[in-house]
Amino acid sequence: MPQPVYLDHAATTPVRREVVEAMEPFFGPRFGNPSSVHRWGREARAALDEARERVARCLGAKPDEICFTSGGTEADNLAVLGPLRSQQAKGRSAIVSTPIEHKAVLATVHHAVHHGATERMLDVTSDGVVDLSSLDRALDDAVAVCTVMWVNNEVGTIQPVPEIAERVKACGGVMHTDAVQAFGKLDFSLKNVPVDLLTISGHKIGAPKGAGAVFIRRGTKIDPMFHGGSQDRGRRPGTENVAAAVALARAAELAVEERETECARLKALREQLEEGLLSRIPDAVIHGRGAPRASHIVNISVPGTDSESLLMALDLAGVAASSGSACQSGSVTPSHVLSAMGVRPELSVAAVRMSLGALTTPEGIARVVELFPALIAKARRLSGVAG
């Protein structure tokens, strides 16, 4: 079989060598518990403090504004429910969000609604961007939290988070953004973007799974999700995962350092991929193409095909891609993001997401540009669709 091609970096990325090296001492001699009073504890604590400072620098934040979590999902839960609970005490109980959020946010919002909050969903354009005009209707003094992702994980569209944040702050709400797909792709500093909370995840940027963080701006009141010790100022009790924090810090630094060159490289590869596919499959649809997009995600639908069959055929040919969202069973389910964009079902069931990253090469893209149209032609022959 030819060299496999991994085009699923939005799902996860390989752990970088530099990150493995940075973590190694904490699986060895520096095993201590950061809360301990002795030398072993101090050594671990020093590493944790330093990791916090480094992540803060990468985001334009202050060290005490960084709270390490087990990943994006925990961070999103904390960032939505944490402020909601303290805001509810002040009589604010509405959550503003969008129908294109990651499940980590959507399910958290549903949970909150089940427990007495109300939800206000913003409109989304057919290009997969939040319609700012729907924000006016949604904002008033009942809004506790607004949560809008920065880069959509299925189609790659960039949401107007700074603009939304300005307006949410003006009406007294707390603003959260899930920046899991944005960090390392967009150039931003939290000095200039008025969000109160922001989620990042390590394994999307070359750190291992289980490493994440949430930025919590000073003065933002949150109720903790967990109850226990006083770690992380009581915001996130539990002995800190020092190795994961160090890994996240190293990966974040590399992501920021390399952002400009890596994004330019990925953008060129993405153009090679999109142009190659569109020239061979003229009626293919690339979702969100009319909107500003991050450089690493292509979501393509070809009429008369289905993503389930395509993903299997791609996998058996050594190419890893995905559909938008996979259910826990691993089965392909229709994408809530594409539905919210008004994509018709026959295109939605055909959606294949290819996401570029560290492992992506021009040779790999060239191979997919040959293989994918061939699989499409075969699928269409089988389904009797011309093309």
């Binding site: 996998d315 826990q328 392909v332 089988l382 389904s383």
Partner: protein
């Protein structure tokens, strides 16, 4: 290049052994589990209910070193199988969803997935066999599942591989243990229909059609002459030949002999009234060149029932009528009529009605 086969894996012992045997035989094996239904719908963001069996199938594939995919066939299965299932009950019939699942879901929709991955072959864990493009009963007659397979497209038989069809159930279990498939070797076999939890089909009907659907509403229990002798709480809870829920106090044991959905009536009668000498079926599908009027066959009107000699007396489009050599009890609309010649499956259809048509009563057909 090795021949590629897509194996439908339920997470049970039969399909797991089927996959393992095909790996042993040198096929390029791909495991696929169909996700067919989910009752978690009303609880958003919850994991899927069929997760355990999917996980078992995946563990087996991991052990065999073959790829495993989960295929979401929920909407097609809901339409082709579950909607039909509740519709049949609502029409006073007793459906047999496994037949439609085989016909439409496994050997049509799943076959399309096999096409998509260029798998020439499609395998399942059914106890049946194929030979020269014909379908045969499973070797183990106690376990034979050919009764559920009559509806598949004849051309598909040539693409089917049924590895456990030569084995008995104990042999399959022993093989599973020998192959190290501990996950599934001793799984208890469920007699339930997969999408009917606890065998409570009324719950499924209520969920689909609403709990106020006429088939689950009170109605009269009547004798064959129309005399009302009691009340029932929904004719969909009854099937032909059933005794449970039938009022007592008669000289002889009484059985359900008919269901009349228009009057919501369950008709009861003595055992004799259950006997039929003829049967009419529709949606007839042939797995051999179609037979003509006068042909002698054996027929089976229920899973695990003994086959009865019979003669074809009428064929019209996809409808067929047979005269039975001896009376058969409880011929039930909605169940399958399967025609055999010994072990060979000739074809089948859905039973429209039983009949008393004895062969002697029929006009002589000119030769």
């Amino acid at each position: 290049m090795r021949a590629r086969v897509l194996v439908a894996m339920s997470g049970g012992v039969d399909s797991s052994v089927a996959a393992a045997l095909l790996v042993e035989q040198g096929y390029d094996v791909i495991g696929a589990t169909m996700k067919l239904f989910c009752y978690g719908d009303d609880v958003p963001d919850r994991p899927c209910c069929s997760l355990d069996s999917i996980n078992d199938a995946r563990r087996v594939c991991e052990g065999l070193g073959i790829p495993h995919y989960v295929l979401n066939l929920e909407s097609a299965f809901g339409r082709d199988v579950i909607d039909n299932f509740v519709g049949e009950y609502a029409a006073g019939r007793t459906p047999i969803p496994c037949v439609r699942c085989n016909t439409f879901t496994k050997f049509r929709d799943l076959l399309h997935k096999a096409d998509a991955v260029e798998a020439q072959w499609i395998a399942t864990g059914h106890y049946a066999r194929t030979q020269n493009g014909e379908l045969l009963r499973g070797r183990d007659i106690a376990k034979d599942q050919s009764y559920f397979l009559w509806g598949i497209d004849r051309a598909v038989v040539r693409r089917m591989v049924l590895p456990v069809g030569e084995m008995s159930k104990p042999e399959t279990r022993a093989r599973a243990r020998a192959l190290g498939l501990e996950v599934v070797a001793d799984k208890v076999e469920s007699q339930d229909i997969c999408f009917v939890p606890d065998g409570d089909h009324a719950k499924v009907i209520a969920r689909r059609l609403g709990s106020d659907t006429p088939s689950l509403a009170r109605g009269p229990v009547v004798l064959m002459d129309g005399t009302v002798v009691g009340e029932h709480d929904g004719f969909a809870r009854f099937t032909i030949g059933q005794r449970r829920g039938v009022p007592g106090g008669f000289a002889e044991a009484m059985y359900v002999v008919a269901i009349r959905p228009v009057e919501r009536a369950v008709v009861i009668g003595p055992r004799d009234a259950l006997l039929g000498r003829g049967v009419v079926a529709h949606e007839m599908n042939w797995l051999v060149d179609p037979l003509q009027i006068g042909a002698r066959v054996q027929v089976q009107v229920r899973h695990r029932a003994r086959a009865t000699p019979a003669e074809i007396v009428r064929v019209h489009d996809d409808e067929i009528e047979l005269a039975l050599d001896e009376p058969v009890a409880a011929i039930t609309p909605g169940q399958s009529l399967v025609l055999y010649d010994g072990d060979r499956v000739l074809g089948g259809g859905f039973i429209e009605r039983g009949g008393s048509a004895a062969r002697t009563a029929l006009p002589v057909i000119a030769a």
